[in-house]
């Protein structure tokens, strides 16, 4: 196998729209706004962009971005599938293109009007469901929350996580959101508030679920060499990994021999190998948090805690700013906005730059993860 090109690309610009329940502008518009903002942040002209990487679920195609921004040619373009599992993978694909020399200035973006645009699981055109959906939708395991609640219950049975552990995740991230003026949910939330909220899919309550948001985010990447001449401090993509694991069934991944061995475990093993570091080297993490239990599972899968210790680790306050591993310092998907986790990548960049509203002291290396329970991906970002 070839040697992995560690630190071969840098994130040099970030941009985003506001986040809201109903942003009032179509996805194409907010995509262009976020990309334009990221390019301005980097001090890079759209004429210099030669690569675009998107989520497969993105509704705006590369050609639409290119012809609006006057991008003269794209030598690299591609996309990564599996919804929220894609984000870190898209950054990883861009980094590989830069490392391979097929593109020099690559934009990655996600635009999604998920707040005003309806629920994808509720808008199927027919009542006939094929493929993997045939094995869970007919029984009313319809919503992402139902599918992750099933995994959560099993985690509770096998590994002892509790309601209060989940509440510790949700309340910690809400604390971080209170300091972030862009966050959608800034009202204080106590454990009592959390436990008093209604069930959505037992064992998950309202505040275990991410927000429903409209918004777009983008980032600009280039070579570390070129990054030295640009406006912002460079943030290196130390390593990026993807993982699926055996016998995977998307979202309803209960059929493999050991469903507690989630895609994240496979992405984690590969990430630490590629990065040449481990959990002890990480100063801050942005865990994909479409649902609070995914954070506890990720703490265990990425090796910060032994299986079963993720919940107690959260309950001890370790995810809060000042804790052993401050996590989701913008408020995350639970309290800042849910844009398929791209806001987690941008917050990772801000932490390494030193510009977060919940800044971790001496943040030199940081983990970002993408959706778990689906084919997933992850990133280590660090200072040059």
């Amino acid at each position: 196998m070839n040697e992995y090109p560690r630190d071969a690309a840098a994130i040099v610009g970030i941009g985003h729209t506001e986040f809201s329940k109903d942003i009032g502008r179509p996805e194409r518009t907010v995509a262009l706004e976020a990309i334009t903002a990221a390019l301005a942040d980097a001090g890079v002209s759209p004429h210099e962009v030669d690569g675009l990487v998107k989520f497969s679920l993105e509704n705006t195609m590369e050609v639409e971005i290119a012809r609006n921004l006057g991008i003269p040619n794209l030598t690299f373009f591609g996309d990564v599938a599996y919804g929220g599992g894609a984000g870190c993978g898209a950054v990883g694909h861009a980094a590989m293109a830069i490392a391979a020399g097929v593109a020099e200035t690559v934009v990655v973006w996600r635009a999604r009007n998920r707040g005003s645009g309806g629920r994808p699981w509720a808008t199927r055109g027919t009542n006939r469901v094929g493929g993997e959906f045939a094995w869970f939708l007919p029984w009313g395991l319809s919503r992402p929350v139902d599918q992750i609640a099933m995994l959560t219950r099993r985690h509770m049975i096998e590994l002892g996580s509790t309601q209060e552990h989940l509440g510790a995740v949700a309340t910690a991230f809400r604390e971080h959101a209170q300091r972030n003026p862009n966050a959608m949910m800034r009202k204080p939330m106590t454990m009592e508030d959390y436990l008093a909220a209604r069930w959505v899919s037992e064992p998950l309550r309202l505040f275990d679920c991410c927000l429903e948001s409209d918004g777009a985010l983008a980032l600009v990447m280039t070579t570390p060499e070129r990054a030295k001449d640009l406006k912002q401090p460079a943030v290196l993509v130390c390593a990026a990994s993807q993982g699926i694991g055996p016998d995977h069934l998307v979202m309803a991944n209960y059929f493999t021999a050991n469903p507690m061995e989630t895609p994240a475990r496979f992405a984690a093993q590969e990430l630490w190998r590629l990065a040449g570091m481990g959990p002890d080297d990480i100063d801050c993490a942005q865990f994909y948090d479409a649902f609070s239990p995914l954070v506890i599972i990720s703490l265990e899968e990425y090796g910060f805690c032994k299986p079963g210790d993720g919940g107690p680790f959260a309950a001890e306050g370790n995810l809060r700013l000042g804790g052993a591993l401050p996590c989701n310092t913008s408020g995350g998907s639970l309290s800042e906005a849910y844009v398929h986790g791209m806001n987690l990548v941008l917050e990772g960049v801000r932490q390494i730059r030193g510009s977060s509203t919940s800044q971790v002291d001496d943040c030199n290396a940081l983990l970002v993860t993408s959706g778990n329970g689906v084919p997933t991906s992850s990133l280590v970002l660090r200072k040059p």
Binding site: V129, F133, P138, L141, S142, D146, E202
Partner: protein
């Protein structure tokens, strides 16, 4: 206005035999003809030995509750009159797992490892879902 339609499985080249058996109230499991591994959900190739040959063997129809959820509103319109309703994953005695609803049970009395047997729900002409009843 008619009631919203419940999602039902689309049969494909591999799964038709499974669903047609369900319509006869028979639970079959796809079994590799070459290495004997039982697999579910069904698929064309055996992931253990790469054989394309398989047979359908009658399942015991017994298993244990592996996990479950209780869905509360808002849910799909087709399920709105059932809330709060349960959905479970059952681990069959053969080792494979299936999603289903637990019937003839009080939701608060569902427990991990609860023994269950297959029950049948005819949802529309030619489409029957395997369900699970505590024993």
């Amino acid at each position: 206005m008619s009631a919203p339609q419940r999602p039902v499985p689309e049969f494909d080249d591999v799964t038709t035999a499974f669903w047609e058996a369900c319509a006869r109230h028979e639970l079959l499991l796809q079994t590799c003809s070459s290495c004997g591994v039982v697999r579910h959900p069904p698929r064309p190739v055996c992931p253990s030995c790469l054989s394309w040959d398989y047979t359908w063997k009658p399942a015991s129809g017994r298993g244990r509750v592996w996990s479950w959820v209780i869905a509360h509103p808002p849910v799909l319109p087709a399920f709105a009159d059932k809330t709060p309703y349960n959905v479970a994953v059952v681990q069959l005695d053969e080792g494979v797992r299936m999603v289903g609803n637990l019937v003839d049970v009080v939701n608060d009395e569902i427990r991990d490892g609860m023994p269950v047997e297959v029950a049948w729900e005819d949802v529309e002409d030619g489409v029957t879902l395997p369900q699970w009843r505590p024993i």
